[in-house]
Symmetry: C2
Subunit: 203 residues, 2 copies
């Protein structure tokens, strides 16, 4: 039990945890379309009003769940920025694959962007969901941007490099293939992407 | 009038044009959420059944409309690949801005990905819409990939460069900022992006 003297709202936080846990299970099983907020409340054993007070729409709840689905990828500069980026981008590919597959039959050849696209649409639909998604990516990307800054100060990257532009190119290529062109993502592609970005396209 | 001997289904094609024209007007005014397929049929003066036979869902119709919204950007290698890419990416930024704003109040500071995100979600939701979106991008990107091949054969780009990887990095960065991080897109950003991709990040 949470001691009475502890700050915050322990009971509500307990309900939040129950709701997010139940919603994650349901989302992985059903996917976006067949996910029901009322069913998530019932499974979590909380009143619908409790859930809707915290997450006013299905989009709000689903984005909160997806934010927790992302694996925390340990990011520390190893002295080899190519290896670090390759590892990190492969972890993004793995994470995107996990999120996109929510609610889809395992082992199907289906390459749909699935839930990844629904999260982007939810962020576009509601200004507050958009702000939450953008803040989540700002927090997550800050860690890899710090790694790139360190690689730059250690002389592995150009002194005038803007780490954000480099990372946009790398992560952007992955999301572009998944969300826009539908081209496949794998380790071989990640390797070519990192090489091209580091070495540059110009002769 | 279309001569009777002409091949194809001229009347149905006429209906298609009317529907797509009416749907475009409606989509620009209303945006995705408030767009109604029945209203598009009524405005076009065609039976709902005619429309639904051709486009079975709102998502199918909207993706067909958006495919026609994209400006055709003339793409010819000028001998200066940096200038060509800068021009082309600025045209993409302009086109994305036009699509994302559909149904949103003019002049609002709203940076939502809007309809761009809804198209990505529609492509993820229906396998046939996804195939149509991927084919549209394959056709559109083939032109710029040919330009990059020519720049490579003229010695402006590395002989071992994969044009697709380069273009993924460039277009990908734009879509990533719009759909994922919410960071702004403008001409200054495009300039930094092209320079970073051409020159490479490594020291």
């Amino acid at each position: 039990m949470v001691p009475a003297a502890r700050r915050g709202r322990p009971r509500a936080e307990g309900a939040d945890e129950k709701i997010l846990g139940a919603a994650l299970e349901l989302l992985l099983e059903r996917g976006y379309d067949r996910f029901s907020v009322d069913e998530a409340a019932a499974t979590a054993g909380v009143a619908k009003t409790t859930l809707y007070r915290r997450w006013p729409t299905k989009d709000h709840l689903i984005v909160a769940v997806v934010a927790r689905m992302q694996d925390e990828v340990p990011v520390r500069y190893s002295g080899d920025v190519r290896a670090d980026l390759t590892r990190y981008l492969n972890a993004i590919v793995h994470g995107l694959d996990r999120v996109r597959r929510a609610g889809r039959p395992a082992g199907s050849g289906d390459a749909s962007a699935g839930l990844v696209a629904e999260v982007a649409a939810a962020a576009a639909r509601h200004a507050d969901v958009g702000a939450a998604v953008h803040a989540m990516f700002a927090r997550r990307n800050a860690v890899v941007l710090a790694l790139l800054q360190e690689a730059r100060s250690q002389g592995e990257l150009r002194p005038d490099l803007d780490p954000e532009v480099l990372f946009d190119q790398l992560a952007g290529a992955l999301y572009y293939r998944l969300l826009v062109t539908g081209r496949p993502l794998d380790g071989a592609y990640v390797g070519r992407l990192v090489s091209t970005a580091l070495e540059g396209a110009a002769r």
